[in-house]
Amino acid sequence: MKKGAIKALFRRNVWEENQVLRQILGICSLLAVTNLVSNSLVMGGGLIFSVALSSFTISLLREYIPHRVRMIVQTLIIASWVILFDIILKAVLPDISRALGPYIGLIITNCIIMGRAEAFAQMNPPVESFFDGVFAGLGYTIVLVIIAVIREFLGFGTFFGINVNFVGFQTWTIMVMPPAAFFIIGVMIWIVNNIMARKQASGGGKRG
C-alpha cells in the first residue's frame, strides 16, 4: 500500500475523525482510567493492540463471515484479542492490571473497535485495516493521555507518579473524582468543534 494512503489514514483517524472527540465513541473506558497517566498509557496500548489486530483479522476473514451473523463473529474475534492482551498485561504489569480492573475486559465492548470493523475492516484489505486500527487507537490514546495529564496534575500534583507540584498548590480533589472527567471531555469536544467550524468557514467547507 502507498505511503500517501497511510498518511491520509493517519490524518483522518487521528484528527479529522477522531473517534473520541468527533464520533463520541469509546467514552466509558476513556473516562474511567484517566486519573493517572500510566494507567491511561496502558489502556491506550491495549486498545491499539486490540483494534489493530481485530481489524486485521476481521479483514482477513471478511469474505468468509456470513453477513447475518457478522456482529457476533466480530465480537468473538475482538474478545479473543482482548483476552490475549489481558493475559499479557497480568503477567507483565500485574499492578496496573489490578488497578484497571474490569476496564481491560471492557475493551471488548469499546465501540471504537466495533466501529472500525463495521466501517472499515469489512470492506478493505488486511494491511489497510491494520493501519486504520492503529491510527484510530492512536487518536483515542492521545485524547486519553491529554485528559490524564490534566487530571493527574491538578488532582495529585504529579506527572507519571513523579511529584511536579513545585509551587505547592492545593490539589483539587474533584479532579480525581468522576465529575471532572465529564467536564474535561465536554470542554475538549467544545474546543475541537469550534476549531473544526472555523476551519470549515475559512476553507470554504472543502473538507467535511
Partner: protein, 199 residues
C-alpha cells in the same frame, strides 16, 4: 464462592443506585447514554430494557461462572463466555417478549439489540467476579445497577428536553453540552458517597 464479602444486600442495592451509579461514577454504558438521551420517552424505554437485561445476564453469568467455568478451569475465557451469554440472553428475551408481551416488545424492541454492546452489561458481570459477590448480592447488584442506569438516563433526558432549542455558544450543542450536564449530575451524585460504602 465461600469468600463472598459480608456486605448486606440492601447496602449493595442502594449503593449501586446512588453512590456508585454505573454511569455517573463507573462510566459504564456511556455510548448509548450520550446518544439516546435527547428524548425522555425513548431514554426511559432504553433504561427499562437495560435494567431488565442486566438482571437476567448477571444472574446467568453468576451461575455459569460458579458452576461451569470455575469447576472446568475456564476462568481465563470469562470475557468470551460472558459476552456470548449476554448476546444469547438478549436474543431470548427479545423472542419471549415478542411472543408473550408484544406491547412491551413494541416499546422496548428496538433497543434490545443495542444493549448487547452496552458496556454496562458486561461491566457489571466483571465487577461481580472481581468483588466475588454471592448469589443474593449479585441479584441485588444487577437490579440496583439497572435501576441506577435507568434513573441516570431518564434524568439526563429530562434535562436535555428542557434545554432543547435554547441558544448556546457555538460548538457547545450536542455531545459537548451533554457531557457537561452529566458532569453536574455526577457532582450531585457525589453527595451520596459515604452513605453506602461498597468495594
Amino acid at each position: 464462592m465461600g469468600s463472598a464479602p459480608a456486605i448486606s444486600p440492601l447496602v449493595i442495592f442502594l449503593a449501586s443506585i446512588f453512590s456508585s451509579n454505573m454511569v455517573l461514577s463507573n462510566f459504564l454504558g456511556m455510548c448509548s447514554f450520550i446518544s439516546v438521551s435527547s428524548e425522555y420517552k425513548t431514554a426511559s424505554g432504553l433504561g427499562k430494557a437495560v435494567a431488565l437485561v442486566m438482571v437476567f445476564t448477571t444472574i446467568l453469568n453468576w451461575l455459569i461462572y460458579h458452576y461451569v467455568m470455575i469447576p472446568l478451569g475456564l476462568d481465563y475465557l470469562r470475557y468470551l463466555i460472558f459476552i456470548i451469554v449476554i448476546a444469547a440472553t438478549v436474543q431470548i428475551i427479545e423472542m419471549v417478549m415478542d411472543r408473550y408481551l408484544s406491547d412491551l416488545h413494541m416499546k422496548l424492541g428496538i433497543f434490545l439489540p443495542l444493549i448487547t454492546v452496552n458496556c454496562a452489561i458486561l461491566g457489571i458481570s466483571l465487577f461481580m467476579v472481581i468483588r466475588s459477590y454471592g448469589f443474593l448480592q449479585t441479584l441485588v447488584f444487577g437490579l440496583g445497577s439497572g435501576l441506577g442506569w435507568w434513573l441516570a438516563i431518564a434524568a439526563l433526558a429530562a434535562i436535555r428536553e428542557k434545554m432543547a432549542g435554547k441558544e448556546l455558544p457555538r460548538g457547545l450543542e450536542g455531545p459537548a453540552l451533554t457531557f457537561i450536564i452529566t458532569g453536574l449530575m455526577a457532582l450531585a451524585f457525589v453527595g451520596f458517597s459515604g452513605m453506602f460504602v461498597v468495594m
